[in-house]
Amino acid sequence: MATPTARPAQLEPRERDTAAQLTVEDRRELLRYMLLMRATEERALGLYRQGKVPGSHYDGRGQEAVSVGSAFALSPRDRACILHRDLGAHLIRGVTPGRVLAQMMGRVGGVTNGRDGNMHFGDPGLGCVGMVSMLPDMAPVACGLALAFQMRREPRVAMTWFGDGSTANGQWHEAMNVAGVRRLPIVFILENNQYAYSTPNELEFAVDPVERAATYGFAGVKVDGNDVEAVFQAAAEACDRARVGGGPTLIQAETMRMHGHGAHDDMSYVPPELFEHWAARDPIETFEKRLGEEGLETESLHKAVAETLERETEWALACPMPDPATAAEGVFATEDPVLGDGHAPWSRWSGRAATDA
């Protein structure tokens, strides 16, 4: 059925890294980041309810395993365009919770210093290009990042996330097709959280979009998006493949958005049974239970995360609002872009030079 892909790989295939191995410490880190994401979002929601967060508020409650599991596979010099449900990915790249809270509150010290709000950010210094609201506009942009790696023969990967709703959009298709034709080193994470705002899957597409990957000439993988290790495994394999010239991968992570689209949305369109089904499969509880059964201690993580959040919240609340006199500054750049490298907490990357990703 599939004709051979049109463009040969740009890079000489090299020895694949041995299958992704997680140490005990890695697994604790996965849990810690999920806890940190949830705690940060809960705090942000609290600040929103106190009226300290202007505009709207969006979070990724229930989707922690997707963002943490996938971003954990990235090396320092990989690049990420992160979605509004994926705070965990930002945290893994090295954005501190305080900066996230300051971002939401529109303060200096937030990632965009009040220029943009909500989850519309990405720290260029940590290898991230912040999303725009138009979905999924970062998919073509991520193709451009991957194109740069490919042209410079660098073994690096671009990763980008989008929702089920985004798969209906033309830009999604253009990105997938271009990535397939050029065999770009890119990993697409499709978070199927069952709804695009209030619109259920069956009004968005007639067939599961992961099926489309094959028709773009690359692998499509469906994983349990509430199992952080499964997501990680799929992402690590996809990154390995991309790094050696094996082209893109589409990973469809099945999950559920457990909060409204935004804080204003009561989710009345979600049947209670569906909600309950997913509530029983909370990604953090499931994973913590698994670790506990294996005898790992996790209680101390809760305490550490809670302490971090206190400190970070305090820091964020001490950040000033931006100076209105600066409002019109910075429309045009005067210097060339410099994307820095991100953190990469997976043990595979420690001890390696960042350039040796």
Binding site: T112, V132, G165, A168, Q171, A328
Partner: protein, 322 residues
């Protein structure tokens, strides 16, 4: 007459048009079951069915394109962008397909494109834009921008009945903040006719949408000067006669809009005046607009960027003293 919010007036307009003509239908994201991101279409799916209030996939070009196709086939689609900012994603269908259809092949495209626009509530760079001026550089599209509940309903009726693609700019910041009397039943507010929101003889402030209220507030009692406020209501085609009539009367003009400055509606209005009413002018034509920047999120920044009452007042004072 009942008092409705600006938002309720739009809903009322939609409902009346759908009751009046079976071929009128709505399409857009989350407009059915959920009633729309702003609840403008609330209740319509219940009354008219999910087929006539279609929850589309997230696909702006398909939304605009499907509206064009249905319109030429005799339907009267009302398409919604969840925020006007997203019209950039369906732009090509509007400016190349819808706009040029009649000129090229004599085929009318009676569709309405609802564009919830404007800022003032920390929507940030992607939920606060005022994209209306783009469409004046795409001949074949009409653009309306109601500022009152009464006009919101009446311009909706006119937009639906007009045989051309009409972009309906509904200002989000007015949705629930503005109330006014709105007549029951169907009525049409004529296109391309300015409304004199307040009469005056010493200076004219020309505005539209939410800024009409900023203009009124700024000039309500400005050192006792008689300041006329002209509400454009239709941005394309402009009511040039209505604009020039006020300019000829007052000889001084401030043009005010929330959209960014360069090549905005204000530029067109100023150019029109500089060309057609030069001899009537007693001073420079002054623009008060957002500067050429994306609309920032943080309240102090957003306030600094969007035109405020004080700025309008200062501009008027300066021009009065000219």
């Amino acid at each position: 007459m009942p008092e409705l919010t600006y938002l309720e007036a739009i809903t009322d307009g939609l409902r009346e048009e759908m009751r009046h003509d079976e071929s009128v239908f709505c399409l857009g994201q989350d407009i059915g079951n959920f009633g729309g991101a702003f609840k403008v279409t609330e209740g319509l799916a219940a009354e008219f069915g999910r087929d006539r209030v279609w929850d589309t996939p997230l696909a702006e070009s398909a939304i605009v394109g499907a509206a064009v196709g249905a319109a030429v086939e005799g339907m009267r689609p009302i398409a919604e962008m969840q925020f006007s900012d997203f019209i950039a994603c369906g732009f090509d269908q509007l400016v190349n397909v819808a706009a040029k259809m009649h000129y090229r092949q004599g085929l009318a495209v009676p569709m309405v494109m609802r564009l919830p626009s404007g800022g003032g509530f920390s929507g940030g760079p992607f939920h606060s834009q005022n994209p209306e001026a783009w469409f004046l550089q795409a001949p074949g599209l009409k653009v309306v921008a109601p500022s009152t509940p009464e006009d919101a309903k009446g311009l909706m009726a006119s937009a639906v009945r007009d045989p051309n693609p009409v972009l309906y700019m509904e200002h989000k910041h007015l949705y629930r903040r503005l109330r006014g009397e709105v007549a029951d039943g169907r009525y049409e507010t004529p296109l391309s006719q300015v409304r004199v929101a307040r009469e005056g003889s010493e200076l004219t402030v020309i505005a539209y949408g939410a800024m009409v209220h900023t203009a009124l507030e700024a000039t309500e009692d400005l050192d006792g000067a008689g300041i006329e406020v002209v509400d454009l209501r239709t941005l394309c085609p402009l009511d040039t006669e209505g604009i020039l009539a006020s300019v000829r009367k007052t000889s001084k003009v401030v043009v005010l809009h929330e959209a960014t400055r360069s090549c905005g509606i204000g530029a067109e209005v100023c150019a029109l005046i500089a060309e057609e009413a030069f001899e009537d002018l007693d001073g420079p034509v002054v623009r008060v607009t957002a500067p050429d920047v994306p609309i920032p999120f943080s309240p102090p920044l957003e306030r600094a960027v969007l035109p405020q009452v004080d700025q309008v007042r200062d501009a008027c004072r300066e021009l009065l003293g000219y």
